[in-house]
């Protein structure tokens, strides 16, 4: 998963229409997918159904958005599903300590966990893949241990989860919060040095190092954001289920990686962004239900999901920007 620097020549002067088309490729794919589903079952296009779909998709999108940061820097965070599950469990377990503000405290804890993970990764110079894989194992054990492997109701006094479960003017609050967070992250990427450093790390870390990017701080922030988004995904989930469970987010990890790539973010880093993440999250969430709408035999659903993911990546991968593909 390495990029040969010599291939990365970007021409800023002339707009590259092919590249623009390719950036919009995933969006077109999404629209096509939704339109095709609408043709089969018009009911899914109604406002109500769409809102329902969006709030179901919110946890996946949050994970994809969070997972995009490490991947943009060429790393990966495999611990996100574990963090989401532990978040649900902690909202219950820590309630006696933090009361109504438990879920906020848990998000802060998640951010701290992400920071530690980022630090371990860059200070010990260990690949993020193995660091986050190990923490996934640790988090899985923690979730079981803390919850005693039981589903527990979320305390009703929890402010944030309570808000998330409600709607404003028909819009589920999960969608509103997600939109706000994505907007804030966009501002962070656009108007601070972080965005520039992030892409610099992804496209050529040695060069970034040489040009004085604070790699350690940037990486720590990357993993904080990833963990924070994962915790948010966990809160989204418990706001729907009203129960916590040690296996709440189960295999959302794989879906989230599929989502990052489907949006057009390159797994090798440096290419992609938040827009791609949201689109990718939506595609993944829609792929998950399209088999049901179209009426694919249940045994074949995994095959179709796999093929669709391959097809989408085959179409949307921008091979010109990537030198060596691993």
């Amino acid at each position: 998963m390495q990029i040969a620097p010599d291939r990365r020549t970007t021409t800023r002067a002339r707009p590259d229409y092919a590249a623009i088309a390719r950036t919009l490729g995933p969006l077109a794919f999404l629209l096509l997918l939704v339109a095709a589903s609408g043709a089969v079952a018009p009911g899914v296009l109604q406002a109500d159904s769409m809102l329902g779909f969006l709030s179901d998709a919110a946890p996946v999108i949050a994970l994809v958005v969070g997972g995009t940061f490490p991947i943009l820097a060429g790393s990966i965070d495999l611990s996100v599903a574990g963090i989401a599950s532990v978040t649900g469990v902690l909202v219950v377990v820590l309630n006696p300590v933090f009361g109504p503000w438990t879920s906020l405290a848990v998000v802060l804890l998640a951010l701290a966990f992400g920071a530690v993970q980022g630090l371990v990764h860059c200070w010990l110079q260990l690949p993020s893949f193995i660091v986050s894989l190990a923490s996934l194992s640790i988090l899985t054990g923690l979730a079981l241990l803390l919850s005693n492997a039981t589903a527990e109701p979320i305390p009703s006094n929890d402010v944030l989860v309570g808000i998330l479960g409600n709607t404003v003017a028909g819009l589920p609050n999960t969608i509103i919060l997600l939109a706000v967070v994505v907007a804030l992250l966009w501002l962070l990427m656009r108007y601070t040095g972080f965005g520039r450093d992030l892409y610099a790390l992804g496209s050529g870390e040695t060069a970034a190092l040489m040009s004085g990017v604070n790699v350690r701080a940037t990486r720590t922030l990357i993993f904080m954001l990833s963990a924070g988004c994962a915790a948010m995904a966990g809160l989204f989930l418990v706001s729907v289920t009203a129960f916590s469970s040690p296996t709440l987010a189960g295999n959302l990890l794989l879906l989230s990686i599929v989502g990052v790539v489907l949006g057009g973010t390159a797994i090798s880093g440096g290419v992609g962004g938040l827009f791609a993440a949201v689109v990718g999250g939506l595609i993944t969430a829609w792929l998950r239900i399209v088999t049901v709408i179209v009426g694919v035999a249940p045994t074949a659903q995994n095959i179709i999901f796999g093929l669709a993911a391959l097809l989408a990546v085959a179409v949307t991968t921008d091979r010109k920007k990537l030198g060596v593909i691993k």
């Binding site: 492997a149 039981t150 009426g295 249940p298």
Partner: protein, 367 residues
């Protein structure tokens, strides 16, 4: 050397092939149902399992007797996937639909029932229900019933069979299923209940095998090395893990010598009981479970049953299960090979004919 044109044409060819497979693997939407009521929706965890195949068989029997074809959703043990798929199914249009589903974990029960109630879909849930919500106190117009098999009884019967076969004295070890699922901790609780009544039986270790054959096999190998011949019985919480256990025992020629118990009455379990590799399995009937759960949801959807008029025992019940030993295994093997075909009219005569009574309080707590 491959030319660029070649590479491109190969790329196109592969893409076309992918698209072709994608198209041919899908099939058109089912034709409009014929009997009264809307779609029959069923949510299962996976398709590649004997248990779920048999469960679907029961659902299909009922659907066929109504001239319908069930909509099958597969969660892959993922509650939020099930929820999203239910959302799509309901959005595509659902009037008087009926749903029978395993919510895949306790945590998703309330959300799934709530989502269904909003779409006016009547639900019967299986296996998973958190301790403190019941069909009569949560979306009670639409959550018709919850049904399961008594895990405590299963564990108890297994352990008592071990106790009896070992003459009330011996050393055993236990393998638990996925710890967050009620049958897993219920069966272990049943084991502990039996231990209290059979003080000579000593439980030396409990490990988690996640319901999987291979994990149980590894665990058993380790135990054999650790405890050697002092281990006299292995309590495997289901037949798959019992099979893994027996496979490990066979490697040492100890099958039939160290006693193994399982649960579920699967085909393989029954055959191992017959061959003497397993001491006991607990028979439960997934086909019947499928038939009853689907029928009950459908009955509520078309008004044959009014959920509000049902008793607690009718809305939260266990289905019968039976210990199977070498003495009675032939009866169950015959039943496996010649499954009765169920119809809605049959089941409707008495939905609770095979009920084993109301689920007691505290059954779904894990302590």
């Amino acid at each position: 050397m491959t030319t660029r044109v070649d590479a491109i044409s190969i790329r196109r060819g592969v893409l076309a092939g992918l698209a072709f497979v994608a198209l041919t693997a899908t099939r058109p939407v089912q034709a409009a149902p014929e009997a009264k009521g809307g779609k029959l929706v069923v949510g299962i965890d996976e398709t590649a399992s004997e248990y779920w195949s048999e469960y679907l068989q029961g659902v299909r029997d009922i659907a066929e007797s109504l001239g319908k074809s069930p909509v099958v959703l597969t969660s892959n043990y993922q509650g939020d996937q099930l929820l999203a798929q239910l959302g799509a199914t309901y959005a595509a249009g659902c009037h008087d639909c009926a749903l029978a589903t395993d919510p895949s974990s306790n945590a998703f029960v309330k959300a799934i029932v709530g989502r269904s109630a909003k779409a006016k879909v009547h639900v019967v849930t299986l296996w998973n229900r958190p301790e403190d919500i019941h069909p009569w106190d949560t979306f009670s117009d639409y959550w018709v019933a919850h049904t399961s098999f008594d895990g405590v009884m299963s564990g108890y019967e297994q352990a008592m069979a071990l106790c009896k076969a070992l003459g009330g004295k011996g050393t055993i070890a236990a393998i638990e299923g996925v710890p967050s699922t009620p049958p897993a901790y219920q069966r272990i609780r049943g084991l502990k209940k039996a231990l209290a009544e059979c003080p000579g039986l000593k439980l030396v270790d409990t490990q988690v095998g996640d319901w999987q054959e291979t994990k149980a096999q590894d665990i058993t190998r380790t135990w054999l090395a650790h405890y050697g011949s002092t281990l006299q019985g292995i309590f495997a919480s289901n037949d798959s893990m019992a099979r893994g256990t027996v496979a490990a025992l066979k490697e040492k020629g100890l099958n039939g010598k160290i006693l193994v118990t399982g649960s579920d009455g699967s085909n393989i379990g029954l055959e191992m009981v017959k061959s003497g590799d397993m001491l006991v399995t607990i028979w439960n009937d997934p086909v019947l479970q499928g038939a009853i759960s689907m029928s009950l949801a459908y009955a509520a959807a078309i008004g044959d049953v009014d959920p509000q008029k049902l008793t607690h025992a009718q809305r939260d019940f266990y289905l019968k299960e039976e210990p199977v030993t070498r003495d009675n295994v032939d009866k169950y093997l015959a039943m496996k090979h010649d499954q009765p075909k169920y119809s809605y009219e049959d089941i409707k005569k008495d939905f609770w004919k095979d009920s084993a009574g109301q689920i007691p309080q505290g059954a779904n707590d894990n302590d």
